[in-house]
């Protein structure tokens, strides 16, 4: 095997950096940050612990942005195909920044904190381009990146039990609801969401409080620290896509199978159709069909099928490529997602992955691979 211990010293760190090292994390460069890929228990154990109990993730590398102003909803609607005017205060939604070709600049979570104030969480690797994009298109509202806050995710079926002791008021939140709460005298933004498919919370904490708060959460028997390795396998099992890997600025929203993320009022036949970047290209793709689609892939073999693996038909003709793939600890088998030519995109279609010149049987599968357990009240 080859060595993987290359390290760059100009990496940024999160407010929890010392805690990660103290907990014995293996740190790796990710999106310009030094981040924990795993702790001593390892990816598989961390993954299964999150599914059965609760896991604490440091996601402070992600961008936290406030957009504020009397016209913030309508200004943001030019960039994100959601109905933000109709989004209730205290609710949040998954959405996309689209570009004028119908591609995806980033995916995001946007919460309506107050009537004229939106809180947006964006991917670490995209935050500078996203903020530039916001500044380029938004003239009336103010745009503020919150650089003095950490972001923690507490995920798993026991997350609510732990939250009961930390901030019982936050239990009033249902899936995709958001609020500001006072914990230990400090303002915390808490949403009932995450990227694991489990019930859980994402908590924006003032940076200087992050460490003691994380240690407090970790003091509960139910909770273990979880690294990026398990975060990746958890999101893949839940069929959630990873920006930069499963879609990018060249991927049409329809190809990415993310049409569901366009609010129904903004779709071609909706009450406020279009008027966002790339609407024409997206509607055209929907109308005329696309040549490839993002699909789930169930691997009918023990061989893991990784990102970059070619997908072929029974005649060994190339029909697509895997964009995320790995071993599912919950299902104890390999799973993947990727793009296939639309003729092969129907669930149940049998194709092959070409791994080290061997044909590995793969079936187009429904996602999520593992049932989601969100708290809907």
């Amino acid at each position: 095997m080859a060595d993987t211990n290359s390290y760059s010293s100009d990496l940024k760190t999160t407010p929890l950096n010392e805690l990660h090292e103290q907990l014995g994390a293996k740190m790796v460069p990710f999106a310009g940050y030094s981040m924990p890929v795993q702790y001593p228990k390892g990816v598989k154990t961390e993954h299964l612990h999150t599914r059965s109990s609760a896991g604490l993730f440091d996601v402070s590398h992600m961008g936290q942005v406030i957009v504020e102003g009397p016209n913030a909803a309508s200004e943001l609607e030019q960039l994100i195909p959601l109905d933000l005017e109709a989004l209730a205060v205290g609710s949040q939604s998954y959405g996309l920044f689209t570009n004028d070709q119908g591609g995806i600049i980033d995916d995001l979570i946007i919460a309506r904190w107050q009537q004229n104030t939106f809180f947006i969480v964006i991917n670490a690797a995209c935050k500078y381009k996203d903020i530039e994009h916001l500044r380029a298109h938004i003239s009336e509202s103010t745009i503020t990146e919150l650089t003095d806050r950490a972001l923690l995710a507490l995920q798993g079926p026991k997350a609510a039990n732990v939250m009961q002791s930390i901030c019982p008021q936050a239990l009033q939140l249902k899936f995709m609801e958001f609020g500001e709460f006072t914990v230990q005298g400090e303002s915390m933004f808490i949403s009932r969401s995450g990227y694991t498919g489990e019930d859980g919370f994402e908590i924006s904490v003032p940076a200087q409080l992050a460490r003691s708060f994380a240690e407090h959460i970790l003091s509960f028997d139910e909770v273990e620290p979880i690294g990026l390795g398990a975060r990746d396998s958890l999101r893949l099992e839940s069929g959630l896509c990873l920006y930069g890997q499963d879609m990018n600025d060249q991927t049409n929203v329809i190809e990415a199978s993310l049409a569901w993320s366009i609010h129904k009022n903004r779709r071609a036949n909706g009450s406020k159709a279009g008027n966002f970047l790339g609407a024409d290209a997206i509607f055209a793709a929907q109308e005329s069909g696309v040549s490839k689609k993002r699909v789930g892939l169930s691997v009918e073999s023990k061989t893991p099928v990784r990102s970059g693996t070619l997908l072929v038909d029974a005649n060994s003709q190339e029909i697509g490529e895997v964009t995320s793939g790995g071993f599912s600890p919950s299902l104890e088998k390999p799973i993947a997602m990727g793009y296939v030519s639309s003729d092969f995109a129907k669930v149940g279609t049998e194709i092959f992955a070409l791994v080290r010149n061997k044909l590995i049987p793969v079936t187009i599968a429904k996602t999520p691979f593992v049932t989601q357990n969100y708290y809907r009240g």
Binding site: T4, K44, F327
Partner: protein, 126 residues
């Protein structure tokens, strides 16, 4: 870090045991299994295949990534470990017991040119 004195090693983290019958047994080191993390799949060379020293001849896949395993010497594969294939996690729990394959080297004397335990310990900074 567990690096048994009676084995030889490569810089690419294979261990090699010289057997009485002139064959060698090959596995991956404790350091390697720890760096790879949870091992979920092994692809081992078929019996009868021949390799040159340094050829990629097996694959170890962990939850994180696939890693090639290299033939430490030139020679023919004479056995592979089915038990490890059906329980890949055994390589994590017992890296020196869960061997991967055995070879009949073209020149057994070349084993002595491989890294000693002390030399391997140095290469991994142990």
């Amino acid at each position: 870090m567990n690096i048994p004195q009676d084995l030889r090693y490569t810089e690419s983290h294979e261990w090699i045991r010289k057997e009485a019958d002139g064959s060698i047994t090959v596995g991956i080191t404790d350091h390697a299994q720890e760096a790879l993390g949870d091992i979920v799949f092994l692809e081992l060379p078929s019996v009868g295949k021949t390799f040159n020293a340094g050829d990629a001849c097996a694959v170890v896949e962990s939850v994180k990534a696939a890693s090639d395993i290299y033939a430490p010497l030139s020679g023919e594969v004479i056995a592979n470990n089915d038990a490890a294939v059906s329980a890949p996690e055994s390589v994590n729990s017992d890296a020196y017991g869960s061997w991967l394959f055995k070879m009949k080297p073209a020149d057994i004397s070349k084993v002595d040119a491989l890294l000693t335990a002390d030399a391997y310990a140095k290469t991994i900074g142990a």
